[in-house]
Symmetry: C2
Subunit: 326 residues, 2 copies
DNA sequence: CTGTTAGCGCATTCAA
DNA sequence: TTGAATGCGCTAACAG
């Protein structure tokens, strides 16, 4: 692999000049510029990133730690973040914590070792010591979609309360009183916020305040299914079910089918946080809150780059829309 | 940020000894080992990756370039690859080419600049000059799921011919003669292989050889929808439709709904390459080939690590299973 | 087993 | 505008 010295030799200039031309920083003569560019092209020169990073004490890489890349919400978010980062000259190092705090910590170490310039992070639950020390060291960092107690850094997230209000209105307008709700782990802010908003709004919207209709999952399909089955096994039959996120809702639908059979399941209205692209084909079609994952990803990158450049960054809530398929 | 020199000073040893302890290479006395470890912990020392990479001329990073991270197949594959890589001490740098050859080339440059130790790659179509030069330079590289003409490197992919045979048998057993098929861009090996196998097997399986039932999409939902609509607009009505991948099938279902209405669409059997997790809830439920994305990801990493270590790596085809929901 | 030292490839400072 | 020289943090070679 050719080095900058090879390029300089071939162009008949010093490495200093070659470096100046290749990184386009300070002024160079048109002549040497042309010769260096030509030499680099002929040699197929690609600058050595690690060497460059070592010298400049920055990598132009941003870390993005999502909790589950298989969740379409994060896939979409990651894709948008990546596009925005690339537009601004940064590369994104994407890691998948798989909803596992231990893995998240492991990736935090990897990011630290790689000396990423900043971090976009979707916390798994309580703040780990590693995360706390990273934050308190002033490392540039923003939160995506979830927060955690004691983390005073910019957050780019869905407007959960507004979304839940849309769902509550929808339920009331259709006369649903017996509504099953499956939330997420209390340790995750998304789950907590959505659950709190739902519980607070139930009475006002004519929904039975019977906690037999409530349970919690793990934000994954299997947890939603298990929770749904626990609810049904308490002997209650809802007229509508509401899942705290896409995978949870999918699990709930599975639970309904397995416990009640397809015919009975088809009579129960389903509404979900997160719109998955197959919801329109379900029986009955599933009404859902669609959140703008792409906007969150873009805003997150913009906020983080502000932080890196020493500018202020302010949190933002992105509104949801209800896709009514009833 | 503390450097190895800080650790050495605090432990009262030389940087050489500190390095040996921290990278666990050659033998060190229990005494210095303990003191260095303690000092590193107290200082919150994290080795500088770029410096380490520069010196060792390797990064312990593998590049993974997928064609669309929002496709659940690749999300699953990426996740499995990442797990396997981590198990072997490597980090994966994940990039999303978004089915765009230009973006793919851009990422190839980024990978080259970052000096990744090897590359897992899912080609977009024809081989770009940049890719060709990378391959001919002997850079460690394996192909995932797709190949391209003239690329003589290990391939880890679905056994397309075997999968299509399963579908053809299924169609014949149910007496379908008028089957609509939407393929993918001819430039992509997956599409080409599947389409070739389908066309070759039609006659033997009692399927009408009327090309009005054939069209091509772009592996995405919108392309599948457009292709389905073109087929219907030719005045033919299939009794079954077969999509070349998950998003294409989804688009086809959309096209059926929009053109024929839900009632008529519900009478048409649907079978798909790729099993998406909502297919069981569609009306009618969609029969699908399930491929083992996780195995492909794991095998890819294993093959690539073999290559990196100078061992031989051999291509492998991973069999599919048909999930019959009829 | 340990300390000293060279050098990985690059950007940047200082003189010229 | 340019060349020479320095050092980023680390590992490995060498000598002890």
């Amino acid at each position: 692999m050719p080095t900058i010295k090879d390029v300089a030799d071939r162009a008949g200039v010093s490495v200093g000049t070659a470096s100046r031309v290749l990184s386009g920083s300070s002024s160079t003569s048109p002549d040497s510029r042309e010769r260096v560019t030509a030499a680099a092209a002929e040699l197929n020169y690609v600058a050595n990133g690690p060497a460059r990073s070592l010298r400049r004490a920055r990598t132009d890489v941003l870390g993005l730690l999502v909790s589950d890349i298989r969740n379409p919400f994060f896939a979409e978010l990651a894709h948008a973040a990546e596009r925005e980062a690339m537009r601004r000259g940064y590369t994104i190092l994407l890691a998948n914590a798989n909803e596992d705090e231990h893995q998240a910590d492991e990736y935090l170490s990897i990011f630290a070792a790689q000396r990423v310039d900043g971090l976009l992070f979707s916390p798994q639950g309580p703040v780990s010591p590693k995360l706390a020390s990273l934050v308190s060291s002033g490392f540039p960092m923003v939160l995506l979609n979830r927060t955690a107690p004691g983390l005073d850094i910019p957050l780019y997230a869905t407007d959960n309360a507004q979304g839940v209000r849309l769902v509550l209105d929808w339920l009331r307008d259709r006369g649903h009183r017996d509504v099953a709700f499956v939330g997420g782990p209390a340790a995750m802010s998304t789950g907590a916020e959505r659950q709190a908003a739902y519980l607070a709004g139930r009475a006002d919207h004519g929904i039975t305040e019977n906690d037999a209709f409530l349970d919690v999952g793990n934000f994954l399909a299997d947890g939603g299914e298990a929770a749904m089955i626990r609810i049904l096994d308490r002997g209650v039959i809802p007229t509508a079910v509401f899942g705290v996120n896409g995978p949870t809702t999918m699990g709930m639908v599975r639970g309904l089918h397995h416990r009640l059979g397809s015919a009975a399941a088809a009579k129960i209205a389903v509404v979900s946080f997160d719109d998955l692209d197959w919801f329109e084909f379900a029986t009955p079609p599933i009404t859902a809150l669609r959140h703008d994952a792409a906007s969150i990803g873009r805003l997150g990158v913009q906020g983080l780059l502000n932080l890196i450049e020493g500018l202020p960054a302010t949190s933002a809530r992105v509104p949801l829309t209800l896709v009514d398929r009833s």
